[in-house]
Amino acid sequence: MAFQLYLLRRIMFTIPLLLGITVAAFFIANAIPADPINANLPQNALNNEEMVAAFRAKWGLDKPLHEQYVTYLGNLLQGDMGTSIKTRQPIAEDIRKFLPATIELAVTAILISVPLGIFLGAISAIWRNKIIDYVVRTFALVGVSFPVYLLALIALSLFHARWGLVAGPGRIDFAMEPPPDVTGFFTIDSILAGDWSTLRNVVSHMLLPSIVLASYPLGIIARVTRSSLLEVLAQDYMRTARAKGLPEFAVIFRHGLSNALIPVITIIGLSFGNLLAGSILIESIYAWPGLGRYAFRASTSQDFPAIMGVSLVIAFIYVGVNFLVDILYYFFDPRIRET
């Protein structure tokens, strides 16, 4: 199949998915059997029917569900995600504020976990069932063996509070001014401002949460690399390569790893979505003002527009990342081109 055709097909099939997500988000948000008035009006105001009615009218909660959805979709197409009931800010603006913090963590976590995971997985596969294999595997599994919030808290109390190696909770020291807001990514913004001491501080704050966040995909990536590399190493073409007298290292890296990467790519694609949504526990412990916490707060306060907004954005990013993964598939796996 030609690349353009493949691409077109992927894009076309993404549209109904995104539409499906808006429907799912809308109905899940509305299926929660709680009334946003309870979450957003004080106790004494609830007996005031005028105030309750005003609240419902303001947020369109007095209209039938399908009508609410159509209105929502219409606004969405014009780029208006609505206004959060809780923060009373436009949701697009809220997300612009909270998303960069999470992306910054997730991307750093991926940057740490992918090379390290593949590296550890390869060591494990090459020295299969040797002591180093066991050591590496146990190490890689720490992140998936303990509840992540426990790891986060232990790491915080040791590396920050006890040994003072890295900065503590928050994206930047509490008493420090954040860099001028250009992109919302503190790292990029402080580089743009040429403010190196801020950059140091920001990076120092990012280290713990992103390493803890990376521990989860690290275990999975190492694991998948190991098993798929083992599988590839047993393939006929590997035997052929060896028979040709190529050095073992070249065999593994040139032929083995590149062929073993397909399942690894899949896992990275899957992990990224999890990282965005799953970072909430880490965000809570590290007082990291990211999208996970925003989503959690939205759900606990029945902030329908915000729930839908966050779901959509996370879904959109997820679809985007996996779209990329599919394209990588196309290049890594020549067989797809044949179908």
Binding site: N44, E177, V203, E248, T300
Partner: protein
């Protein structure tokens, strides 16, 4: 072997990478200006809005206490009396309907405008007409007028002995009318639709407080700077940062490592574990929150617990001392929060009597107990984990044969049942909106919590209804004390509630912070704090 060499090279590369990371790390505090006095407070932010006409949360209280002033106020540490603030003195008409306040004439807003009676009128009318969360506080105000530049007159719909106490609420903050109008605000009748000043007030303050709001970044931090022209005593700190740290465990670590000066949301156990740490000071004292069981009066909903004898048995069965072991605090004598004028203290509170409880159960026809479900929200408030209490209640009642199964709900879901009066047997807490004995009426027939227990005026004793009617309007403090004592006596023997604990509230701070006191209305006043030098 070739591959081993290459691996060694790769390994070294990884180690160099790690070293770089470590070098990048390292704690370094980089304060904005060395000579600035900065206070950093760690707090699980709950702000819904910083607009005085719209915000109604604990955090709003802390911030607006610092950025605005009210006409009258309470003392720093409790609600024992009404003190003047922007008003110098006031007169109350004989029928209790008209309040006339004389204002200070030497106070300026942070932008230099001086305050006048018009600002008071504007602020109160705006609160009423914006119909935001705290608008109910202004429900009873019929009108507010400026008599002259520094005299303002309130007329009430009905006499209300708690009116002055209500005016201490930060919702009645006096705001700069001109400045708010310039930024889209209005106090007109249709302010609910036309007022557009909220965005401005969320990032700026328009008040006369000791601090000015520099910025509020939701879920991140709220930054206050000192008001150089404050009319009262100048505060010590130049800058106050309220950093949002949602997890109590993280607040504790941040406090111990010195990144924050105060932690507001720790549990009692966390605070007590730092009691011997010389670098940490702790404050602990009763909060204004009463934790109680609700037993629905409607037999259809409450079932067995709608029986008054069973209700009394349950009050006898609870292990009041046990809850004090868990949370400190006091056992309230009734649903009237301990600390309000005339509230029963521990000496008048219930104590556990299992034999009496069993007798009563037998009398009610349940000698072997019964099965029931306890509904409550899965929620932690001011360090009190409701799940822990629910488990304790389950174990207490098991001792008299009552088999309780627990039904924790997601907060909003559970609130919905509770507020609609659909919960048969529930566990909730209540903090008074108004620090006045009148708050007790919330728990009586016709009151908001009374309604939730389906305790309606139609079914209640006439004797009780008469008492309520008198208590509502009585202004003489001696007579009031007597009336509220009678109401509390009544609630102990009858009624659908079993208050069991009013936990301690606790705050931990760096030992060099001085002057901290907890306040039941605004939680804390940052302007009275200082740092030992």
């Amino acid at each position: 072997m070739n591959n081993k060499q290459q691996f060694t090279r790769f390994f070294s590369l990884m180690i160099i990478l790690l070293m770089t990371i470590v070098l990048f790390g390292g704690t370094h505090t980089n304060v904005i200006a060395q000579d600035e006095r900065v206070l950093v407070i760690g707090h699980a932010e709950s702000t819904d809005s910083l607009d005085p006409a719209r915000g109604y949360t604990q955090t709003t209280g802390i911030v607006n206490r610092a950025t605005y002033s009210t006409l009258v106020t309470f003392p720093d540490e409790d609600a024992s009396r009404i003190d003047p603030m922007l008003a110098t003195d006031w007169e109350i008409s004989a029928d209790g309907l008209v309040y006339t306040f004389n204002l200070r004439d030497d106070v300026a807003f942070t932008n230099g405008d001086s305050i006048s009676a018009d600002d008071v009128v504007f602020s109160v009318q705006r609160l009423k007409n914006v119909t935001g969360n705290p608008a109910f506080l202004a429900d009873n105000i019929a009108s507010v007028e400026a008599i002259d530049d520094f005299t303002v007159q309130f007329t009430l719909n009905t006499a209300r002995p708690s009116f002055l106490a209500e005016l201490t609420n930060y919702a009645f903050s006096i705001t700069n009318a001109d400045q708010i109008r310039e930024n889209g605000g209005t106090d007109a009748e249709d302010a609910a639709e036309t007022d557009e000043a909220e965005a401005f007030l969320n990032n700026n303050s328009a008040g006369t407080g000791p601090y000015i709001l520099e910025r509020w970044e939701p879920q991140v931090e709220t930054v206050l700077v000192r008001n150089p022209d404050y009319w009262g005593e100048a505060p010590y700190f130049d800058r106050v940062i309220i950093a949002n740290i949602p997890e109590a465990a993280t607040q504790k670590i941040a406090l111990e490592s010195g990144e924050i000066d105060m932690a507001l949301d720790l549990t009692g156990d966390q605070v007590m574990s730092m009691a011997n740490d010389p670098s940490i000071g702790i404050f602990r004292g009763p909060s204004q929150y009463t934790h109680f069981l609700l037993m629905n009066q409607d037999p259809e909903i409450g079932g067995v617990v709608s029986d008054p004898t069973v209700q009394l048995a349950i009050r006898y069965a609870l292990d009041y001392e046990g809850y004090k072991i868990l949370w400190g605090g006091v056992t309230p004598g009734s649903n009237m929060a301990f600390g309000l004028a005339g509230s029963y203290g521990e000496d008048q509170a219930f104590s556990r009597d299992l034999d009496r409880a069993r007798e009563l159960l037998a009398e009610a026809g349940y000698p072997d107990g019964f099965e029931i479900t306890l509904s409550y929200p899965d929620f932690t408030w001011q360090g009190v984990n409701m799940n822990t209490n629910a488990q304790k209640i389950q174990s207490d009642l098991a001792e008299v044969g009552i088999d309780v199964s627990l039904n924790p709900g997601e907060l909003q879901v559970s609130l919905e049942e509770y507020r609609n009066g659909q919960q048969g047997f529930g566990y909730w807490f209540w903090g008074p909106d108004i620090l006045d004995p009148l708050d007790l009426l919330s728990f009586l027939p016709g009151g908001i919590v009374g309604d939730r227990a389906n305790w309606s005026p139609e079914t209640a004793d006439q004797e009780l209804l008469d008492l309520i009617a008198m208590a509502e309007i009585e202004t003489d403090s001696e007579v009031r004390l007597d009336l509220f004592a009678q109401l509390q006596d009544y609630l102990q023997q009858s009624g659908p509630f079993a208050p069991f604990n009013q936990p301690d509230v606790q705050t931990a701070y760096r030992a060099d912070i001085q002057g901290y006191v907890f306040h039941p209305q605004w939680t804390m006043d940052v302007s009275i704090l200082s740092r030992a030098e």
